[in-house]
C-alpha cells in the first residue's frame, strides 16, 4: 500500500502542485494541500483500497483542503472563485470512470500543468541554486530537508532559499506560464541546464550519501521525461535524456570499492549497463529524427561513441574529434576545447593534444579550472616528460575539489616522481 502511495506521489505530486499554483497563485498553499492529500491517502487507501484513478482522487482531496483553508481565512475571494471554477472545468473529477481523454486531461485524470511550473521554477531572474531547489521541491516533491542534504547546506539555509524564491515570484511578478515566441528556445535551454545541473550534482559523487545522489539522478531523468512528453518537438530535451542515460550506464563502473575514480580507459566495460545504453540510443535516434542539432545532442553523440566501444582500444576517436569540432563550433566553450584536445591526443598522439592544451592555457580562459593542469599533466606523462608532468599534477592538486579526484591525481603524481628523472 505504501508502494501504491509512493507510486502516486511520483506520478501526481507535480501535477497537483502545478494546478493549485495556477488556480490560487499561492505556492505554499499548493504544497501544503498536496502534502495533505498524500497524508490522507496513507490513511484511507489501506482501508478503502487504491482508487481507480489515484490522481483524480488526490486532486479532489487537495482541492478541498485548499477550499477549506481559503474559506477559513475568509480571504482572497478571487482565489476562491478560481478554485470553484476548477470544479466546473473538470466535472469528471467526482466520477473517475468518465474522465475525458481530450488534450488537457491525461490518463492520470489530472490535467497537466507541469510545464508552466517547470518554466516558472527555472526562470532566469531566480538564482540558479534557487531554481534547482524550487524544481526539486515543487515538481519532484522532495522535502526541504532532503534537498538540503543533497546540496550539503543546513536545512534552515535551504528553507530560506525556497521562501525567498517564492516571495520573489509573487512580488516581482514572475509570470506563471510557458514563454512564447523567441523567448521559448532560450528559456527551454535554461530549463535543460537546470536539469543537467541536477543530474551532475547526483552523478559526480563529490560528496553526500550515495542514496541521496542516486535519487537526484533519477529525479533529473524523470523531469526530463516529463519535459519530453510535454514538448515532443524539442530535440534538445531528447538529446539531454540520451546523455543522462549514457552517463548513468557507466555510473557503477566509474569508481572502485574505495570510491576512487577509474578512468574511462580502465573501466570494466562489462559492468556498463546495457539497458541504459539502449535507452540512450533510443533517445538519441529520436533527437536526430527532429532534424536539428543542438549541444546536448552532440554531447550525447560523443558519450554514445564511448559506450558503444566494447574495448577502450576500439573507440572511434576520429568520429569523436569530429563531433567535438561541431560542438566547439556551436558553443565556443573553452571546456569543450579542452575535451577536444584530449580526443585529438587519442587520435593523433599526445604531442598534438598537448599543443592544443597549451594554447588554451595561454589564453587564460580556463584559469583556476583543475582539469586543465590535469590534462596537461597527463599528456606530459604520456610523452615521458616526467618533471613537467609532476609540476602540472601539483598545479591540478591545488585546484581540485573532490576527494576521489584528489586521490587519483596524487596516485599519478607519485608515479611520475618515483625513481630518477628521465630528463
Amino acid at each position: 500500500m505504501e508502494a501504491a502511495v509512493a507510486d502516486a506521489f511520483r506520478q501526481e505530486w507535480g501535477r497537483i502542485v502545478a494546478i493549485l499554483v495556477r488556480r490560487t497563485g499561492d505556492w505554499d498553499l499548493a504544497e501544503e494541500c498536496a502534502q495533505g492529500a498524500f497524508e490522507r491517502a496513507l490513511e484511507k487507501w489501506p482501508l478503502d483500497g487504491v482508487p481507480d484513478r489515484p490522481g483524480a482522487w488526490l486532486m479532489i482531496v487537495a482541492r478541498n483542503l485548499a477550499f477549506d483553508r481559503l474559506r477559513r481565512g475568509m480571504r482572497e475571494s478571487a482565489k476562491f472563485k478560481e478554485l470553484a471554477s476548477l470544479e466546473l472545468d473538470q466535472p469528471t473529477y467526482g466520477d473517475p470512470d468518465v474522465v475525458r481523454e481530450d488534450g488537457e486531461t491525461t490518463r492520470s485524470g489530472v490535467p497537466d500543468e507541469r510545464l508552466r511550473l517547470i518554466f516558472t521554477c527555472c526562470h532566469p531572474a531566480l538564482a540558479l541554486e534557487a531554481r534547482v531547489a524550487l524544481t526539486l521541491r515543487t515538481l519532484s516533491g522532495l522535502t526541504t530537508a532532503e534537498i538540503a542534504r543533497a546540496f550539503l547546506v543546513p536545512e534552515a539555509t535551504m528553507a530560506k532559499r525556497l521562501v525567498r524564491a517564492k516571495h520573489k515570484i509573487a512580488n516581482a511578478g514572475i509570470p506563471y506560464r510557458v514563454p512564447a515566441g523567441d523567448a521559448l528556445a532560450e528559456r527551454t535551454s535554461g530549463v535543460l541546464a537546470v536539469l543537467y545541473l541536477l543530474f551532475n550534482e547526483g552523478y559526480s559523487a563529490s560528496a553526500g550519501s550515495e542514496l541521496v545522489r542516486t535519487n537526484l539522478c533519477d529525479n533529473a531523468i524523470e523531469l526530463a521525461r516529463i519535459l519530453a512528453d510535454l514538448m515532443p518537438d524539442e530535440s534538445e530535451v531528447k538529446g539531454l535524456l540520451a546523455l543522462m542515460h549514457f552517463h548513468r550506464a557507466r555510473q557503477d563502473a566509474r569508481v572502485d570499492e574505495r570510491g576512487d575514480v577509474i578512468t574511462l580507459e580502465d573501466q570494466d566495460r562489462a559492468r556498463w549497463d546495457r539497458d541504459e545504453i539502449a535507452e540512450g540510443d533510443r533517445w538519441l535516434d529520436a533527437a536526430f529524427s527532429e532534424g536539428s542539432i543542438g549541444s546536448y545532442q552532440l554531447q550525447a553523440s560523443i558519450a554514445g561513441e564511448h559506450v558503444r566501444a566494447r574495448q577502450a582500444s576500439s573507440t572511434d576517436w576520429r568520429a569523436i574529434v569530429n563531433l567535438y569540432d561541431q560542438l566547439l563550433n556551436l558553443t565556443r566553450s573553452p571546456v569543450v576545447a579542452l575535451n577536444r584536445a584530449v580526443a585529438v591526443a587519442m587520435c593523433d598522439g599526445p604531442a598534438s593534444g598537448l599543443a592544443l592544451a597549451e594554447r588554451i592555457d595561454a589564453s587564460g580562459k580556463l584559469d583556476g579550472y583543475y582539469l586543465l593542469p590535469a590534462v596537461r599533466a597527463d599528456l606530459f606523462r604520456r610523452l615521458g616528460q616526467r618533471d613537467d608532468a609532476a609540476r602540472a599534477y601539483r598545479d591540478a592538486l591545488e585546484l581540485v575539489g573532490s576527494e576521489p579526484e584528489r586521490r587519483y591525481l596524487e596516485m599519478r603524481l607519485s608515479e611520475v616522481t618515483k625513481g630518477p628523472s628521465l630528463e
Binding site: 516581482a172 511578478g173 514572475i174
Partner: protein, 242 residues
C-alpha cells in the same frame, strides 16, 4: 527644479524594536506636509532588494542576476520626486523624512527639467517597477557608443511611452552633485556624494507599468545603457500604505 530622493536602508532594519510603527506615523506626517505644499510629486516604497533582478547586456547576450546592482549594506528602499527651489530645500525636506533616522537619503537633481508628472491610478492586471539605470563612474565609451546612446535612449523612451509601459523617468545630474542626508541622535549630517561608494552609480531611473516581470526585463534589456551599464528592475511596494 525637481530632485530625486533615494531612500537607502539596511534590509529588515525597520522591523527592529518598534521603529516600524514610529516611522510609519512620522512618514504620514511628512507626506501630508509635502503633498499639502505641492512639494512631493510622486514616490513609492520599493519591494525588498531580494526581489530585484539586474539586467546587463554584454556581447549581445542578456545576462540576468538575481538581486540588486550592488551588494551594499544599505539598499535602495524607496524614492520621492520633490519640486524645490534649490538643492538645499530638497535636503531640508530629506532631513525631516523618517528614513534619515533609519538609514540615509541621497538627494540628486534631475537632469534638465522633465515634465512634472503625478502618476495615474494603476491599470488593472499590471505591476509597477522602478528601473534603476546604473553606470560605472568615469566609464569611457567608444566614440561610436557615445554618439549612439543619446538618440537611442530617446528612441527607447518614445517606444516605452508609446506602449504605455513607461510612466515617468529621468536622467540624473552627475554623481558629484549628490548630497546624502543621515540623522544621528541629535543632529543632521549632510555629506557630499552618494549613499554608497559603489563602482556603478545611479545615473537615471524610469517608472514602468508592465503586465509582469518578463515585460519589464525585456524593456530593461532593450535600453541602450544596458550594453555597458546595469539595470536594476525592482517592483514597487504592492500595497498602498502611504
Amino acid at each position: 527644479m525637481q530632485y530625486l530622493l533615494i531612500h537607502a536602508i539596511e534590509d529588515g532594519i525597520e522591523s527592529q524594536d518598534g521603529r516600524a510603527a514610529d516611522s510609519l506615523s512620522a512618514l504620514n506626517v511628512w507626506l501630508e506636509e509635502v503633498i499639502r505644499l505641492g512639494v512631493d510629486l510622486q514616490g513609492s516604497r520599493l519591494g525588498p532588494a531580494s526581489d530585484a533582478t539586474t539586467v546587463r547586456v554584454r556581447g549581445g547576450e542578456v545576462l540576468l542576476t538575481d538581486g540588486p546592482f550592488a551588494e551594499t549594506k544599505e539598499q535602495v528602499a524607496g524614492y520621492d520626486i520633490l519640486e524645490c527651489e534649490n538643492i538645499d530645500d530638497a535636503v531640508g525636506w530629506a532631513a525631516q523624512h523618517p528614513t534619515a533616522h533609519l538609514g540615509s537619503i541621497e538627494v540628486r537633481p534631475l537632469f534638465g527639467d522633465p515634465p512634472r508628472t503625478i502618476l495615474p491610478e494603476p491599470k488593472a492586471m499590471t505591476k509597477r517597477y522602478l528601473l534603476i539605470v546604473c553606470v560605472e563612474e568615469g566609464l569611457q565609451l567608444s566614440p561610436e557608443e557615445s554618439r549612439r546612446v543619446g538618440p537611442a535612449t530617446e528612441e527607447w523612451v518614445a517606444r516605452a511611452e508609446g506602449s504605455g509601459a513607461r510612466l515617468y523617468g529621468s536622467r540624473l545630474e552627475a554623481v558629484n552633485t549628490a548630497r546624502t542626508v543621515r540623522r544621528g541622535s541629535a543632529q543632521v549630517i549632510v555629506t557630499d556624494g552618494p549613499f554608497a561608494e559603489t563602482k556603478e552609480q545611479i545615473a537615471g531611473f524610469d517608472v514602468l507599468e508592465c503586465a509582469d516581470l518578463d515585460e519589464a526585463l525585456d524593456l530593461a534589456a532593450a535600453h541602450p545603457v544596458a550594453r555597458f551599464g546595469a539595470m536594476e528592475v525592482r517592483p514597487l511596494w504592492p500595497f498602498d500604505d502611504a
